[in-house]
Amino acid sequence: MAVISRGFHGRRPEPGRTLPPGQYETRDFPVLSAGPTPRVDRDRWQFTITTETGARHAWSWPDLMALPSESPTVDLHCVTKWSKFGTTWGGVSLDTLLADVETEAGYALVDSYGGYTTNLPLADLRGGRAWIAHTYDGADLAPEHGGPARLLVPHLYLWKSAKWVRGIRLLTRDEPGFWESAGYHSYGDPWREQRYQGD
């Protein structure tokens, strides 16, 4: 008789927690990476927002730490099909960082130390739904999870939450990022299972 192990793919979420279609729950925190892990010194770290007119807003690490910090607890959904419930982060809301940025742009292209990019509508960075996260589970964000700081935009698949975030360019036209230019969906809503182009 064949023995079929369902493995951890068969884990059911706890009552009250719902998985997006096609996802399974994991309790650990898998590390996915498309390249070497960048090591970014905080004393040379900088985050910038550049508007469609070229206006540049920059924050050093002390600048970021001086801004009000929030502690969102969110669920993560990776396009490789794992989901992780109830993760706790510390970071600065994009609403705070965008407060003094004048722009008519509709799109954002996020770029990272190490060369990664990802795109999303600017509206998805507003409304208390996105942060520049610098702590995870009460500790400094580890390099393998994107430290010293990563974008956290948990209502979209996790590839949108760029590790090692360096800056955001605000654009009037959508421009595909690293995975979006290689077959993945431009928006990436896990609840509509927008994994690939055409989904």
């Binding site: 996915l32 990476s33 498309a34 892990t37 090591r39 970014v40 060369g115």
Partner: protein, 108 residues
Amino acid sequence: MHDTDRAATGTAPPQDAPGGATDFLDGNALAGVLAELFAVDVTTATSRCAHCGSSGHLAALRVYGRAPGLVARCPHCSEVVLRLVRTPQDMWLDMRGCTALAVPMAPA
């Protein structure tokens, strides 16, 4: 991102995963998926990196596979040479980091 950016922003040179374990495979990891596309084994082909100009076999690339696709990087400059993504309908092959590919062939 290029090496000049890395130097300017304080990012250290590429490193392996914490603890010293490598987080990439060699380019032979491309063989299976490329065999779905090409009639010959292209891992023995020679490619030239569009970023640093160095040449070598595809088998010598560093392949990062714990990702939504396969990302093959130059062993010299670590820039992306090619990417492969398998969707339910298509195989996406991005070779923007490869300026030339010399494939060994039987004499014509």
